[in-house]
């Protein structure tokens, strides 16, 4: 693999890893506080899967980079501007409906992504995708089912998820952005074309929104910047909390 391609793949793995980690973190904030015990356990399962994906992806990113950074070095010792996650997943938890909308918009993307990544010409990435795809298929079923229940539930639940959908929709454009580095990876058959994924994502999302009796928001101005390290104010607090111990005791092993 050429150096440029390797760099591009490093950035790509980092973006996927960071996105999984940050969303896993957000979901883990629910542990012990969900609306019902069964759902508490279910959300935690999704969180565990996501942190699991993050570990594989960050480990791989560290290998590609070749500077000796492992999963923890990458997760715990980078500041906001070095994080590459989508802005969608760093949005803080509001109510359960907001969490479900955020999760579904992400899951619908990740299932399309991992299904295609299984055929990646990069063996490691294909291997990670083969494991992850089974999990994210379940995630999208879980969040999609809940979105339908809440959308087509009571007036209160409908209003709440409709509001969340409006708030979060502007963060969905970023998932399908494509920069030069990614273009090269697409050309090399290593990653799927985001433009092609967008049609599949849209169809999937529209079908569920339809069952949920929710209107799809119009594609207006889209918030972007996550993949360049330009984040909302929320990520800093998330990292401050997550990284506290390794930052406070830099020489310690845990």
């Amino acid at each position: 693999m050429s150096t440029d391609l390797k760099d591009a793949l490093f950035g790509y793995a980092l973006r996927l890893g960071d996105t999984s980690l940050v969303l896993g973190h957000r979901l883990s904030e629910w542990c012990g506080h969900a609306p019902e015990l069964e759902e508490d356990i279910a959300l935690t399962n999704v969180a565990l899967d996501l942190v699991g994906h993050a570990r594989m992806l960050l480990t791989y990113a560290g290998e590609l980079e070749g500077k000796g950074r492992d999963e923890d070095r990458l997760a715990y010792r980078r500041d906001v501007f070095d994080y590459r996650n989508h802005l969608l997943v760093e949005q803080p938890n509001r109510d359960f409906g907001h969490t479900i909308v955020r999760q579904f918009l992400h899951d619908a993307w990740s299932v399309e992504l991992y299904e295609r990544l299984c055929a990646s010409k990069d063996e490691t990435l294909a291997g990670i995708a083969a494991k992850a795809v089974k999990e994210v298929r379940y995630h999208v079923r879980h969040s999609g089912d809940w979105l339908v229940r809440l959308g087509d539930g009571t007036d209160v639940s409908h209003a709440k998820v409709a509001d969340a959908l409006g708030r979060l929709w502007p963060y969905t454009g970023e998932m399908f952005e494509r920069d030069e580095a990614e273009q090269a990876l697409v050309a090399a058959g290593i990653v799927p074309d985001p433009a092609e994924m967008k049609a599949a994502w849209t169809a999937r999302v529209e079908a569920v929104l339809n069952d949920a009796t929710l209107d799809r928001p119009a594609d207006g101005w889209m918030q972007k910047g996550g993949r360049r390290g330009e984040h909302s104010e929320h990520l800093g607090y998330l990292l401050a909390e997550m990284q506290f111990l390794p930052r406070a005791y830099p020489d310690a092993n845990w």
């Binding site: 019902e36 069964e38 356990i41 279910a42």
Partner: protein, 95 residues
Amino acid sequence: MDRKDWPLFEIFIRPKNGLSHKHVGSLHAADARMALDNARDVYTRRGEGVSIWAVPASSIAASDPSEKASLFDPADDKVYRHPTFYDIPADVKNI
């Protein structure tokens, strides 16, 4: 405070192919599909199953323990239902 309980489902899991489903416990869910998902998350976290049945607890008909003697004791003395009841000379093979 809301006190509207989700219905109770009894959960049965097939531990692996070739075995029957076995009762493992119960849980609450608003509908059958949620019951299946919840059962997957609650009862198969360590790879305990390959198939799940979720049955509304209200749909289960159960025998009455006070009738245990009349229901089950009569089978105790029907030894002729068991192969060891019949004497076959040891020389006879494959039977």
